[in-house]
């Protein structure tokens, strides 16, 4: 790293920005050079290592009611300074302010790719929504905690600026919900026995993977009359045009494919194969209809048993593929299917 000072941009709401209280909460995004309000203490705590070059202010109500345009303006203002790090808040237990600080953090994380440090009370709704995108220092529930919050924030900014390793325990921030690998001193089998003995004896133990909330989807009502509907085929079984033109990964897929079925009545070994790395591909490659039942649907279409088959099928590999990736694919695929007037989907897995 060069000897240049770390450039920091600070985001505040109308109250901490000195514009006014609730009556000024509709204040539009505004930019000031240098520090303002809590930024003064922040600059003092950062010392010579870093400089708060600008402060962006926005009213909490204005932000909440015009989230897209407010965020766009705020990010444009921040971006112009090409900061190394962005600080938002601290917001303590102020709900709307916390959500705004979080939303700004998410946009900075995704668009500017620089770290964001904030400060909130753990029950602030901004924590649950946005902790993944910012290092949110754990604060008290009111501004009375400012004296402690600012040094903690400054400490994190300096560490991140030096590209030091940071952790929730050592840098007092709220865990970001990320899983990180490390080598334990004991092997897993021994830890399992230790945990078992503790559990039997009702002694305290810490599970290494706290169970997440599991998203169970209730099935829709069945279709009343299949003769009237347009049906689409979607699969996680990896059926692709032979040669896998979009290079869908055999495991941990980062993409899905959309392929034309117009004029195709049967999936032959010459034209289709599976990209899936989680099962013996022999039978799927001999006859891909076994995974993506096109032949049968073409017959049903011809016999009038179904209204029609959608022109395209969607495919990915459901093998070690992160739930977050799958959810993102599904969201896009579902929207396109709805736009294309598809009524029902046959979803095949392997």
């Amino acid at each position: 790293m060069s000897n240049q000072k770390l450039k920091v941009v600070h985001y505040l709401n109308q109250f901490y920005g000195g514009i006014g209280g609730e009556d000024k909460a509709d204040h539009h995004p505004e930019e000031r050079a240098g520090v303002l309000g809590p930024g003064m203490a922040l600059q003092a705590a950062l010392g010579a290592d870093a400089e708060v070059v600008a402060t962006v202010i926005c009213g909490d109500s204005y932000f909440a009611e015009n989230i897209e345009s407010a965020l766009h303006t705020v990010i444009t203002m921040i971006k112009a300074h090409a900061p190394d790090i962005v600080v938002t808040g601290p917001a303590f237990n102020a709900g709307r302010y916390g959500v705004a600080c979080g939303a700004v953090a998410k946009a900075v994380f995704e668009e500017l790719r620089v770290p964001v440090v904030s400060g909130m009370y753990p029950e602030n709704p901004g924590v649950e929504m946005y902790c993944r995108y910012a290092y949110i220092v754990r604060t008290g529930n009111s501004a009375a905690d400012m004296r402690k919050a600012i040094p903690a924030i400054a400490n994190l900014v300096k560490a991140l600026g030096k590209k030091e390793e940071v952790a929730p325990e050592t840098h007092a921030y709220i865990p970001q919900g990320l899983r990180k690998n490390y080598f334990h001193t004991e092997r897993g089998a021994k830890r399992a026995v230790d945990m078992l003995v503790a559990k039997i004896n009702a002694q305290p133990f810490v599970t290494e993977y706290p169970m997440p909330h599991f998203d169970r989807v209730a099935p829709n009502m069945p279709i009343a009359d299949a003769r009237k509907v347009k049906i689409a085929l979607v699969t996680s079984g990896g059926i692709v045009p032979k040669g896998n033109p979009d290079h869908i990964e055999s495991s941990s897929a980062s993409r899905y494919g959309k392929y034309d079925l117009q004029g195709v009545t049967d999936l032959t070994p010459e034209s289709f194969a599976t990209a899936h790395g989680g099962y013996d591909p022999v039978y799927a490659n001999l006859d891909a209809d076994r995974v993506l039942p096109l032949d049968v649907l073409r017959e049903m279409e011809k016999a009038g048993e179904i209204g029609s088959l959608h022109r395209y099928f969607y495919t990915t590999v459901g093998n070690g593929t992160a739930v977050a990736n799958c959810a993102a694919f599904a969201k896009k695929i579902a929207q396109e299917l709805v736009n294309d007037g598809v009524h029902a989907v046959i979803l095949t897995s392997t």
Binding site: K180, N181, M195, M211, H247, S252, G278, A322
Partner: protein, 427 residues
């Protein structure tokens, strides 16, 4: 059932004109071993040696097997494959400690692994620390995947049995004794101590996801009792082409770590009663039946608590949760051993199923973590498979010979028998 497991420490492996153990060196007659391993389905077999700290990469790795030999007691090594299906697990078994047979050659499916003998990848696999006798086998043209898998599996077991035989008359450097009395006596031992058991889940999804017990495909079995010592004599063998990180190689089964760790505190903190092996089949009714039988057998043993280990990921997460929930609802406390697929950024949900009753979980780490494996001077096998094995992607293998991929590609990196030290935490 009582087994004396005797280790013969091996510190070097060399090719020679005769296969034998002399001192702490294993000498291998390469041609004799090749002839012993021959199989009409395999067009060629070659043998190489890979030692710790060498700049050597083995890819794609199919299975790893420890050379052992039955010296006293019924049956022979790997019953149902190399030996007849006599019961094993009693008497005396010799182990060539420090040696492993590693099988490689043209890739079978997508799911074989990488072993680096040095560099950053080495710490993720236990087989960078063993003296590896690598059997490189190429299939006959046109051999179908499942036949290819069967040929490689049998060849690897034969290779390990062949080398194990060299230890038959060698002098052991250490001996462990495992005593497993019949159930009525076992239950009477150590009055006052809680009783524990082990639920040993075997990958059996089919289509190259198979494990064998005494030669039978585990998906065609009902959950059953097995003596821990039977496992040490090779009663369970891998037929898997699942992701390398969390497939239990035959070596892992032979050294099944939860069994060994449960013995370590047996009689002090609890009474270790026994093991139930169960499968991970794909249909819902199979999953229900197997988890019902597992819960029934564990209840039948009259134990207070059990460790449940998984093999693989995704689909078997459902079996893991069913086994856990059904035991917990019977009042039997559980600890689960699994690994995670939390995405390359670690931000995704780690398992495909979850239940609040699964409140005690040991994790072997996030298999999606990305690693860069630098070029090695020597590659045994086929380096281009790095682009297609599970955890790699199109372009994983760079022009300079380095590989960028998920640790999913490394054999044993997130082993769910708890063989290694890798784990994950929330940050």
């Amino acid at each position: 059932m009582r087994l004396e497991l005797c280790s013969i420490t091996i510190r070097d492996v060399r090719f020679s004109s005769q296969t034998e153990v002399k001192g702490d060196v294993l000498y291998v007659d390469k041609q004799e071993m090749i002839d012993f391993c021959r199989d009409e389905r395999l067009a060629s077999i070659d043998i190489e040696i890979a030692k710790p700290n060498e700049a050597t990469r083995i890819v794609p790795v199919k299975d790893v097997i420890e050379p052992r030999v039955k010296v006293e007691g019924g049956g022979g090594m790997f019953p149902g494959f190399v030996s007849k299906v006599d019961m094993v697990g009693s008497g005396i078994t010799h182990v060539l400690k420090g040696v492993a047979v590693v099988t490689t050659g043209k890739i079978v499916g997508f799911q074989e692994g990488i072993i680096d003998m040095s560099g950053p990848g080495a710490q993720y696999t236990p087989f960078s620390e063993t003296l590896n006798v690598v059997v490189v086998a190429e299939p006959q043209a046109g051999l179908l995947q499942h036949d290819h898998e069967a040929a490689l599996r049998t060849m690897g077991l034969k290779a390990a049995a062949y080398l194990g035989e060299a230890g038959r008359h060698a002098k052991p450097s250490s001996t462990e004794v495992f005593d497993c009395p019949p159930l009525p006596q076992a239950l009477k031992q150590f009055p006052g101590l809680p009783k524990v058991a082990y639920v040993y889940m075997l990958q059996s999804q089919g289509l190259l996801h198979d494990t064998y017990v005494y030669g039978i495909d585990a998906k065609r079995t009902l959950p059953t009792f097995i003596y821990p010592t039977e496992v040490m004599d090779g009663a369970i063998v891998s037929g898997n082409c699942v992701s390398a990180c969390d497939k239990n190689t035959t070596f892992h089964h032979q050294n099944s770590p939860i069994i060994h760790e449960l013995f370590a505190r047996h009689g002090r903190d609890y009474n270790f009663i026994g093991v139930v092996v169960t499968n991970e089949n794909v249909t819902l009714s199979d999953k229900e039946r197997s988890s019902n039988f597992t819960a029934k057998l564990i209840e039948w043993l009259g134990v207070d608590a059990a460790i449940i280990s998984e093999e693989g990921f995704g689909n078997p997460d459902a079996d893991l949760m069913m086994n856990c929930v059904k035991l917990e609802k019977k009042g039997i406390k559980t600890v689960l051993v699994t690994d995670e697929y939390a995405g390359q950024d670690g931000a995704s949900q780690s398992l495909a199923d979850a239940d609040p009753l699964a409140d005690a979980v040991v994790t072997a780490g996030n298999a999606n973590q990305v690693i860069v494996l630098p070029k090695m001077q020597k590659v045994i096998g086929h380096k281009e498979t790095a682009d297609v094995i599970a955890g790699g992607w199109h372009g994983s293998l760079a022009a300079d010979g380095s590989i960028t991929a998920e640790i999913q590609v490394i054999t044993g990196s997130t082993n769910e028998l708890g063989f290694s030290r890798l784990t994950a935490k929330g940050v």
